[in-house]
């Protein structure tokens, strides 16, 4: 695993033109048992840092890690922070740590991390998402078949991405023939576990302009929402888990990330979002005001979120087809798109790119300094 991590770190160093000894900050997403903890990462990769931290070994914290790095830089805790996500999901079978013997996390006092409730047979992250999806389809009278547009669209993008693990063509018939893992979710609604490593180096804008390659700027961001009304794998207001049934009205363009960035959803050139399961794309579009609540499945019709459409989404294939990188594949795609290096997938005049999740965190990236 250390060799895998080092390939990513060495590639990021080469891209930036920095020397390893200049890195004085380390933020790790995904530690043991799926990845390397920050202390062993630093030791094994010969990093010497004065700011070091790590998040819980779950997929949610890509944005959080990058935000913490930015804040540390703002406070002078480090000059160059390397954010590293390295994980070996295949070691744990098709369902990640959830299938790991012991699965103690599923027995947390408040329920498992995705509403797993083992005595009820509610097992796997897919279970909580499927529960939220069933309610969503009912509440907003959404045609379940429309999810296919998310899956097929991301696969078409993945076919243009040499790094994607799922590049074979997928037809609607293929999608509809895929088995129901936890109905109403089909296999192809579920992300593909992979082993991967990504490293991203952050520094302050004044230092970045001297680096070897064009920098990408964090324009604005916001954190993950939590509390009784939030269910990480579903929308608020669906009545799933402890989130009560309410007439949910997303903040949309009123979200902090838009207000502090001085932009609106209409200004975003590409959305790269967390897609552990296909409905997450719909819910992210609605939470952040791209599509009206309950209407994302209609909104995405006609290639609207595909390359060439109004708002290309997950243009690397996302977790559904590129592989479940916990958001880091999407982060790399944002860098490529904003640098104009996305090859066959390049979005014309791509200036503002957004990372966002069902659970509320977001980053707006800019290829120009603020």
């Amino acid at each position: 695993m250390a060799s895998l991590a080092n390939r990513a770190v060495a590639a990021a160093l080469a891209d930036s033109g920095l020397q390893r000894r200049q890195i004085d900050g380390l933020l790790v997403h995904i530690g043991s048992p799926r990845g390397l903890d920050y202390d062993e990462m630093a030791t094994l990769l010969s990093l010497r840092t004065r700011f070091s931290s790590q998040t819980w070994s779950h997929g949610r914290f890509c944005g959080t890690v990058l935000q913490h790095a930015a804040m540390a830089l703002d406070h002078g805790l480090a000059d160059y922070v390397v954010c590293v996500a390295t994980f070996v999901n295949t070691r744990f079978g098709n369902h990640g740590t959830v299938g790991f013997p012991g699965f103690a996390e599923n027995l947390r006092e408040g329920g498992g991390p995705h509403a797993e409730t083992l005595h009820a047979g509610l097992i796997l992250p897919a279970g909580g998402t499927a529960m939220a999806l069933q309610r969503y389809l009912h509440k907003y009278n959404v045609d379940r078949a429309r999810l296919a547009a998310v899956v097929l669209g991301q696969r078409r993008s993945a076919m243009l991405n040499p790094l994607a693990v799922m590049r074979q063509p997928m037809t609607l018939a293929d999608y509809e023939a895929s088995p129901e893992i936890v109905a109403p979710l089909r296999r192809f609604d579920c992300s593909v576990p992979v082993d991967t490593s990504v490293a991203v180096i952050l520094t302050r804008a004044d230092r970045a302009k001297d680096l070897a390659r064009p920098p990408v700027y964090l324009r604005s961001f916001q954190g993950i929402a939590a509390g009784p009304e939030e269910f990480v794998f579903g929308q608020r207001g669906l009545g799933i888990n402890q989130s009560e049934e309410t007439d949910y009205r997303p903040l949309g363009a009123g979200e902090h990330v838009f207000r502090s960035g001085g932009v609106t959803p209409a200004d975003i050139d590409t959305l790269q979002c967390y897609d552990g399961f296909s409905p997450h794309v719909l819910w992210t579009l609605e939470r952040f005001g791209f599509a009206p609540i309950g209407e994302a499945a209609d909104w995405i019709m006609g290639g609207r979120i595909e390359l060439g459409g109004e708002l290309p989404v997950n243009t690397s294939g996302g977790h559904l087809s590129e592989g479940h990188s916990n958001g880091w594949g999407q982060t790399m795609e944002i860098v490529r798109q904003l640098r104009g290096e996305a090859g066959a997938r390049q979005i014309v005049d791509c200036r503002l790119a957004m990372w966002a999740t069902t659970f509320g965190d977001a980053i707006i990236y800019d290829n120009q300094p603020n």
Binding site: H119, G121, I123, P179
Partner: protein
């Protein structure tokens, strides 16, 4: 958090054997001081819910603070066992060996009459509908462990 004396009267629910020889033990959190009443209730055929002494609302999961009013004092009531289906999912495979005896099976998200939502397996049927009335039963597993589940209201399931 303080806990008032527990009234276990009323609210007796049907107890059914869970099919097969599986043990419940590794699927549930071991009882602790703050959850003792819940486990005592199951042993006595009741689903005990924490109720906030300040605002009167019941909550799941058991927690030291009321999610509605931040009150810290609770008493406990025996759930009526009545509720309706908010959502449901179907499992066609047993992802844990404990569920091989019941697969395929349906899991419900139920809004209990007392307010909170609770997940549980639907017993005796695979056909669930949103809005459908259901009733809580208690299943007894081979190791003596007990956990709540649901049956369709009015039917024996």
């Amino acid at each position: 958090m303080t806990t008032s004396p527990t009234d276990l009267s009323g609210g007796v629910l049907p107890v059914r054997p869970y099919p097969g020889q599986a043990a419940l033990e590794r699927l549930v959190i071991p009882p602790s001081g703050s959850t003792r009443v819940y486990h005592v209730g199951l042993a006595a055929g009741r689903l005990m819910l924490q109720r906030c002494c300040a605002c009167g609302r019941c909550r799941i999961p058991m927690a030291p603070v009321c999610p509605y009013c931040d009150g810290e004092e609770v008493d406990w009531i025996a759930a009526s066992g009545q509720g309706h289906v908010v959502s449901f999912v179907h499992y066609t495979r047993a992802h844990l060996p404990e569920f091989e005896a019941v697969v395929p099976y349906t899991v419900l998200c139920v809004q209990l009459a007392e307010g909170p939502r609770m997940f549980g397996r639907l017993v005796g049927s695979d056909a669930a509908q949103i809005g459908q009335d259901v009733a809580v039963i208690i299943e007894q597993w081979a190791d003596g462990g007990r956990a709540p589940a649901f049956v369709g209201s009015g039917g024996e399931g």
